[in-house]
């Protein structure tokens, strides 16, 4: 969906800055215009951001993104309209203006208490399987507190670069009873059946301090067990939280008849089966200190591939209420057949006063890969937020990354965020 403003493929310098400023003002004026329209209730968030990059390729890349989230409420029949979109362009590369429309749907309650809802349009779907943004019709009915069902049909959309939305199709249903679910989804990709899966699972609190979850997915079209998960959450004390799970996952269904799509991607071994075990813990040491950690072991059941280990342990010092400061630090260890990474992450959030706050972060990694040998990878990030009004702020950030392979990458980020809302109250009208 390209917008032809490319005649304006500006050369360099002032033209771009003027265009940027003009567009920023344009987005804000448009937002004010929305605010001026008399509608029962609306809430909107505007975000306009630009990044200037100086990377190793010396490309003059300047991504410029404008977001608008808009919810119109209490329309006719108490229906709602939801919009979320992005208008973007790379001012450096001189790409065309483009629009990503993530959401534009109407939510119509078929019953006054909203137990029965019909949603039509581009919307987010996640009903027990993968997540999609799809042009879809979805009907949900909450029969009582414990039983609910959903039916949906649509065409999935993708916002990743170069991903073609071909003859894709999606349809399914899900039943929720207490904390259990049973669902079915049929997915076609470019005219071919990708899967016709049944899934069943739960997320139940067995006791106040113990939750258990599970999921099983069978692809009836290919006769494959796609996914099996069993996990728990345990909170023996308010201070300690534990999570563990074991998962079997078969990603081969994403390929047609086991055909390898590309040898480079194959080298990362998504094809085939994987067994994964994850443990994680969080502990509140005292009023200020918290400790956390996680460890994942994977067994890649593909010839020639080894096991994987991913570990992280960290500490948080939270003095938010006494000093307006939260600091964290963590050690990383990752090991796979392609190499080993040892890393350090540190960061902070500092509230300076009601107008100004700072976020900082440093990532230092030392890795040893079979392809590149031993390397350092470092990244530093500092972001200041200035409150321009009670419901708007301006952010300025610097991101500097260095790596022996890519040399360096410096980025300056500017962002303006605005929240506004308005409309009429129902009770005022009722009183009249």
């Amino acid at each position: 969906m390209a917008i032809t403003v490319s005649a304006e493929r500006v050369k360099v310098g002032i033209g771009k800055r003027t265009l940027t400023l003009g567009l920023g003002v344009g987005v804000l004026s448009a937002s004010s215009a929305v605010a001026a329209i008399k509608i029962p209730g609306y809430e909107a968030e505007v975000k306009t951001q630009i990044e200037f990059r100086q990377d190793v390729y010396n490309r003059d890349t300047i991504p410029f993104d404008n977001y608008l989230k808009l919810d119109l409420r209490d329309l006719k029949g108490n229906s709602e309209l939801h919009f979320y979109g992005k208008l973007w362009k790379d001012l450096g590369y001189g790409t065309d203006w483009d629009i990503d429309l993530y959401q534009l749907y109407l939510e119509v309650p078929l019953k006054k208490d909203r137990s029965s809802l019909l949603t039509v349009g581009r919307q987010f779907l996640s009903e027990g399987f993968e997540t999609f943004v799809a042009d879809a019709v979805r009907y949900s009915h909450k029969v009582n507190k414990e039983f609910k069902y959903v039916f949906y049909i649509g065409k999935p959309r993708s916002f990743e670069p170069k991903v073609r939305t071909g003859d894709d199709f999606l349809a399914g249903f899900k039943f929720e009873y207490k904390n259990y679910f049973f669902g079915f989804e049929h997915l076609r990709d470019d005219g071919k059946v990708k899967k016709s899966s049944f899934a069943v699972g739960n997320y139940s609190y067995l006791r106040k301090d113990l939750a258990q979850y599970s999921r099983l997915e069978l692809d009836s079209a290919h006769g494959e067990l796609v996914d099996a998960v069993l996990g728990y959450y345990y909170f023996p004390k308010g201070k300690l939280r534990l999570n563990g799970e074991v998962e079997y996952y078969n990603g081969s269904y994403t390929y047609d008849g086991g055909k390898v799509e590309n040898p480079i991607f194959y080298s990362f071994s998504p094809l085939g089966r994987e067994l994964r075990l994850t443990q994680s813990a969080y502990y509140q040491i005292d009023k200020n200190w918290q400790a956390y950690g996680s460890y994942t072991f994977t067994d890649l059941q593909t010839p020639g591939k080894d096991n994987g280990h991913l570990a992280k342990v960290g500490l948080i010092k939270d003095n938010w209420f006494s000093q307006g400061l939260r600091v964290f630090g963590a050690l990383l260890y990752q090991n796979s057949w392609i190499g080993i990474l040892k890393g350090l992450e540190v960061g902070f959030t500092k509230y300076i006063n009601e107008k100004f706050s700072l976020i900082g972060r440093a990532d230092i990694g030392r890795y040893n890969k079979i392809t590149y040998g031993k390397q350092w990878a470092t990244a530093y990030y500092l972001l200041g937020t200035y409150q321009t009004s009670e419901f708007s702020n301006f952010q300025l950030g610097i991101d500097f990354r260095q790596n022996e392979d890519f040399d360096h990458d410096l980025r300056v980020i500017m962002r303006y965020n605005l929240l506004f809302w308005g409309g009429k109250e129902k009770r005022e009208e009722a009183e009249k």
Binding site: G41, E80, F159, K426
Partner: protein, 197 residues
């Protein structure tokens, strides 16, 4: 250029940090209430809809009495959420719903299971079994921001070094990548050697 930016930020930092801050007062999530924004409502309905006076108190138990006093002054979350987080049923469809307007220390209201270190992956099970529970705080746009947005400016999920180091994690746990990305996402860089939009 780098030097200039750091100097500007240092000035900004020094300039803004001159005032003495009462963190306890300013950062307490429940203290963030905008009476001015509710002026029309207060003028019309008075204080009682929020500051209810129906709390039982006894001088025999002074601690309970103090708790009771707080209860009178501080409206419960049900009171606020009745207008601000009650999709489709709110009597005030003009009331904003963003949590951070009042709860600007979001960590304070985070549920216990979110803090276990594996929530990023495990949250799907909670959503699949009882989506309503998630809907109490989150709207669709919150999901889209991580699941669908491919924003090159904001780092939503991965750490900032990830472009350089991701291959080790991708080889250790390839299924994790496939949950959000399609193979073509990887191919964009791996076949051309650079990111193009």
């Amino acid at each position: 250029m780098r030097k200039g930016i750091f100097i500007a930020l240092a000035f900004l930092l020094v300039g803004c940090s001159g005032q003495k801050v009462n963190y306890e007062k300013e950062l307490r999530a429940t203290a963030k209430f905008h009476h001015r924004e509710h002026k029309a409502f207060i003028d019309q309905h008075g204080c009682i809809p929020c500051h209810k006076m129906n709390v039982k108190m006894s001088w025999a138990d002074i601690e309970a009495a103090e708790r009771g006093s707080k209860k009178i002054i501080m409206p419960s979350k049900v009171t606020c959420h009745y207008c601000h987080n009650n999709p489709g049923k709110t009597p005030a469809p003009n009331a904003p719903t963003k949590c951070y307007i009042c709860h600007f220390n979001m960590k304070e209201i985070e549920p216990a299971d979110h803090k276990t270190g594996n929530w990023l992956k495990a949250h799907r099970f909670a959503y699949e079994a009882k989506a309503e529970k998630c809907d109490e705080c989150h709207r669709q746009t919150f999901c889209i921001d991580c699941h669908e947005r491919r924003d090159t400016i904001q780092h939503m999920v991965h750490p900032r070094n990830y472009e350089y180091t991701h291959s080790i994690e991708a080889a250790a746990d390839p299924a994790k990548c496939g949950r959000c990305h399609k193979p073509t996402f990887c191919m964009e860089c791996h076949t051309k050697g650079n990111w193009t939009r």
